[in-house]
Amino acid sequence: MPCGLFFSGYEKDDAIFKTVWLKVWMVLFVLFLLTYPLYAQAVSEAVGMNTLNLFNLIFIYIVGAHGLNLLTGFTGQISLGHGAFMGVGAYTAGILANLGVPFWAALPAAGLMTAAVGMIFGIPSLRLKGLYLAIATMAAQFILIYAMRNWEGLTGGSSGLIVEPASIFGISFDNDFNFYYLSLLFAAAATMYLKNITRTRTGRAFVAVRDRYLAAEVIGVNLFKYRILSFGISSFMVGMAGGLWAFYITIISDEHFTMWLSVQYLAMVIVGGLGHVLGSIFGVVFMVVLPEVLRIPTEALSGVFPDISSIFASLRELVFGLVVILFLIFEPDGMAARWHTIRAYWKLWPFSY
């Protein structure tokens, strides 16, 4: 038995699923995802959280986090505007749906609209880097939120915009069960897209821009083109996430899409692992599930000590922050890197050398 992977051809070395075992696990995982809603209710009652709702949120956020990971993890451009970009997608989808545009057209339109907006706000990336770009994209956040809140004729202002649930071929996605499959489809598509784009010429160019932009320019990568392209694709994905969100929550207001959401997106890809496709998935699962898990002890303790329940409520935020910091200290490469370490350990177990 070989104690390691030995490939005899480039195709095998480049394959996404390199071993038979990986393929078996993937099939099992996909089967699990496809059948999960059937026993979701039992699981939800056992753990005391609505797991189907959590899965739907995870799938929606995965689409957006992949977008930000492409921009920040693979192209090295920071964005503090992705929360608002998600809002642009949500409002575009919502407004179009209210005009009678069917779901299958409204959602891509939301992506395209957000891509356009993202590319406009991405223009400063040609001249600005790092902190300066962070501030420039933060401006996008504030401008867009202001527009959402005050352009009342279009967005409904602070009362929000009510959106009818999505429906395709007469199937309405107005419950968590149906929506699960819809969002799973988009999350899977986004994952495959990100995995594959990083293996193409475009993806290599993104990585070249990230690693050393001067060298990239010298070898003929058009910096402006690829930075804007990255902003465009990234915003497209986060806009799709926004559109899905609108159809899921069915009422949107600017309060969903604050600076906090932008920071949360960044936290997701950083905790998960910048520049790893798996990273955005791990990060999203972590950021969505952890607050819910922390809710269980606070809920229980609030019943026992009602007088200090507000302290427990704040404790939840505190523990959340602490866990994020600890992650950054002890696993700066994110959860994806830790996952690779664990896998490498078991692959060679018990004869690792």
Binding site: I251, A300, D307, S309, S310
Partner: protein, 381 residues
Amino acid sequence: MAAVAAALCLALAPSALAGDIKVGGIFDQTGPTGAVGEDYQKGAVGATKHWNEKGGVNGAKLDLISNDYAYKIPEAVSLYKKYKDVDKVFVIQGWGTGDTNALRPLVNKDKIVFFSASYDGNLTDPKKTPFNFFIGTSYSTAIRLALIYAKENGAKKVVFIYPDHPYGKNPIPAGKDYAKVLGLEVGPDEIVGLRAIDATSQLLHMKKFDPDFAWIGGTTPSTAVIIKDAAKLGLRTKFMINCWGYDENLPKLAGKAADDRAFGMLPVAPFGADVPGMKDVVASTGDKNYTLHYVKSWVSVMVMVEGLKRAQKAGKLNGPGLKAALETIKDFDTGGLTAPITFTPTDHRPSTSMAIGGVKDGKIYIVKDVKFPREAKYIGW
């Protein structure tokens, strides 16, 4: 920590018996409206305990599941889905204008009765929001009553000050419309955020228009900032404050500046007021002092319990049953904690009366009781 959590869950699980009525609680204790939300949450918990000690709903105990959502709407939606699917509740005690409006379509679809701490006039039309209830005089009625009071006191010019937030913004159209009816001149709006620590620039701008009265649609901390800055700048403007910006803490935060300058719209009696219903409220706190927001949630639970009792008598202890039962409540006496409460199938405004409060020597007092005619044209806004 996981072990502690698991142990606690096990320890607490048997306390929720089969006959219990579960009530979902969505409160803000740590978010932007947490300053007033904290007492509201405590009031709901205290009232639930009180009614359980008095025998619950014809023997069935209430089980209030209290959670903080920090005024994050997605979190409120997640909590709602948990309550609906996991805890299987049919009644929720909720909080803010933003999330109550966000949950409107879901509440209607799932037929879950939703008591909000948002007294947004948009929620009073059963044609649009059949499952939304609240117990205070609506913000729109409050703003109209405030303008009438201002006019009675010789006002000619008014200004609206509010945070850029659904709670602050939603009653403003009703106010502007009614100012026109009364023939008051309306100056440019001023935006002061819920977490503002300075309002000088807004007030300097307002000074140019020099209004006789100004409406404040914020919560207590930001209101105190406005009042203090107005005193510092020597404005002659008097302030009419919406019900979440005026409480026992305002004189403490604003000091002398609040005397004869701050007037609050009071849907409930202040904490510890001399009314028959207050005895139980004070007894439930264990000698602690709370603000009138404690009373608000107390009455909200009281009305919910009354509805549940009626629904149980009718044998329909579910969402639509509770809704129908609540709509039979007519001139319900809350022991003077609020004006008598009435819900009908066509009108969910609980009452149209309230008190106007003032501040003197660091204490709040009732200036006068006011009443707006219950006109059908004002249902729903």
